[in-house]
Amino acid sequence: MFNALTDRVVRELKKIVGEKNVICDPEKKIDYSHDEFSLSDIAHEPDVVVKSNSTQEVSRILSLANEEKIPVTPRGGATGLCGGCVPASGGIVLSLERMNRIVEVDRYNQMIVAEAGVMLMDFYPRVEEEGLFFPPHPGDETAMIGGVIATNAGGARAVKYGVVRNYIRGLEVVLPSGAVINLGGKLMKSSTGYNLLHLMIGSEGTLGIITKATIQLLPSPQMSRSLIIPYENLKDAIDTVPELLAKKIMPLAVEFIPKDVIQITEKFLRKRWPSTLGSTYLLIICDASTEEQMDKLSEQVAAICMERNALDVFVADNPSKQQQVLEIRSKIYEAIKAHTLEILDIAVPRAEIAQHVKRVQEVSQEYKIWLPTFGHAADGNVHTHIMKAVYEDGHIVPLPEEDWKNKLENVRRELYRDCKERGGVISGEHGIGIVKKPYLSYVLDEESISLMRGIKRTFDPNNILNPGKIFDL
């Protein structure tokens, strides 16, 4: 159904973006064949990689590809975990990496306008320079703004401040026809027609290519403090979370982390976690505008934790100490990456999280597979890591391939079934991509998927834009 890429089309592409921004060299193309998902069997090489530098160029590329019926897969930082930016049908990978400009910081509206290729590691410092605050914080700072919006990413701070969707006010989008549309604007309110802006957020590059975004910022909280709370057992740690919510205590983030992955990451980074007590930790980050508020909030949190048998409450409250704690938390993924098959991204109602994690532990024992599970305890988003190894006496012991290969699929199914029973979804913040596509019907009914197919056809009648993602047409 797609046409092959011809030399003539490559020449056209070179005319649009310039010779050096069209990559045909197989050795260089291979970098554009995968994202962060570990199994190489989903990787697929593009026929050509094109690096655009402006919205106009994106428009001309899409209009050409639409006419020639060549698939186009948009690509940002490629930090995704489910194959969303893998060019599954070959064709063109359209990399937005050169479109990395901050267009405007609007102090009066407290908004920032950024191009899709701005990396988070460049975005946050710019926002902070203005004394402002962008609350969502997806784990990988090499992610780019466009991708973060296209997956509706979240991160640890969603408990108090919500996910990326809550902060996007306007988008410039190029449709598969090449038409450029502007959705929303520097607006706090809009009840004007169907909300295409929100349809675009989380659409994983299947409806249009996001080239520019207007993003709401908040005044920066005056101070933050991280509490590190060890528990003898996981159940007490997780049971603390609904207690906090029931008492209307609203920290910035609540993470639960087992000790084994902390120890592995301490070794990996040669840094030290604040405590060696217990078997599980809660990491609770509080923000406040005065020291009195901060003390009151942390004392309330501590009291509830101690009632639930916490062993102590350790504090990191200057930037370098907090940085050290957060670095260990955020590098767990890298420390165990070599042994990770897949990171699940199940989101359940917050009150269900303890039961779901209990089920994960049962499945881990049934299948004799290591399933380190940690995540955003207070927003219901659980990251179970399916490992091709077991963890014994402080060491990671790899499993033979034939062993984990059979188990992977079964473990996925078991956990997705449990997710469905608890009224959850299979992705809280990573998206569906290719990897979770077969399981979409576990949690969405056929009618809904059918409506989604209809929307896809309306936006992209030739199905050239990131084909084969989320669902099959």
């Binding site: 509490l227 590190i228 030290r272 604040p274 405590s275 003390d295 942390s298 004392e299 501590a302 102590d312 409450v313 350790f314 504090v315 990191a316 200057n318 930037p319 370098s320 100490k321 940085q323």
Partner: protein, 260 residues
């Protein structure tokens, strides 16, 4: 065992330092201040010695009222007492001045001690002179840049870093020790510790009370200019076929960089 630890309030090492060129000082607005990291090793070591041998840990800092925050932190870590020696002079970079104030305090008001612990240097001024000056003024044995410390009875053994090796030094108490990274892993405060520290009084001693005459502290050092270090230039990229690029690199290393 009566241990005194001397600590300084410094900008957080994560801070971006901006300079006011008119006053030749750093702009404090928006900066976070912390206990100087090397001093934190000194506090931790004092606490560990106390836990093993008993005794009392008192923490001192010379500085303005704002210095209380880091003294509170030391109390939260577990120090028994903290004393603020109030000096509103701000950052003078004058190590001799600080050493005079400390040794005055130790000669007149706080004369009972077995061990004086310092960080090997403060972060920011980084002069690494105060511990040795104090030791000289009080005529005490001293070991600097210590990575291991053992106290037994009225003597001690310390390992200190020297170029390419470690030196073992034995000494009699009382003595001055300055702490280097690696001496220990400073503990994190507990919330309970922080809240208890908040309620604790920190006595304030003025320079007058210590009997220091202003002319004794006349500046021994003049600050003429403060500048940020030059911005590091970005690296050079040699783009060519691998065999050609390697040749160009070798040529560059030989002729321009003169390293091979």
């Amino acid at each position: 065992m009566n241990i005194f630890v001397f600590v300084k309030r410094v900008p957080d090492t994560e801070s971006k330092i901006k300079i006011n060129h008119e006053t030749n000082s750093i702009i404090e607005e928006g900066l976070n201040f912390v206990l100087s990291p090397y001093d934190e090793y000194a506090v931790e070591e004092a606490l560990q010695i106390r836990e093993a041998k008993g005794g009392q840990v008192t923490v001192f800092s010379v500085g303005p009222d704002e210095t209380r925050t880091i003294l509170k932190k030391c109390l939260a870590m577990g120090a028994d007492e903290a004393v603020l020696i109030k000096d509103d002079a701000g950052e003078t970079f004058d190590a001799l001045r600080t050493a005079k104030i400390i040794s005055h305090a130790l000669k007149t008001k706080y004369t009972e001690f077995d061990l004086l612990l310092f960080g090997k240097q403060s972060v920011g001024a980084d002069s690494a002179q105060v511990p040795s000056m104090v030791a000289a003024m009080l005529d005490l044995p001293q070991v600097n840049v210590v990575t291991k410390l053992e106290i037994e009875g009225n003597s001690g053994t310390a390992l200190r870093e020297i170029e390419g090796a470690r030196e073992k030094v034995t000494f009699m108490l009382p003595a001055v020790i300055s702490a280097q990274k690696g001496l220990n892993e400073p503990r994190y405060e507990t919330l309970k510790g922080i809240m208890a520290a908040k309620r604790k009084e920190i006595p304030v001693v003025t320079l007058e009370e210590l009997g220091i005459q202003p002319d004794e502290l006349a500046a021994g050092l003049e600050l003429t200019k403060m500048e940020s270090p030059p911005v590091k230039e970005s690296g050079k990229i040699i783009e060519d076929e691998p065999s050609e690029a390697a040749k160009k690199l070798a040529e560059f290393l030989r002729q321009d960089a003169k390293v091979i």
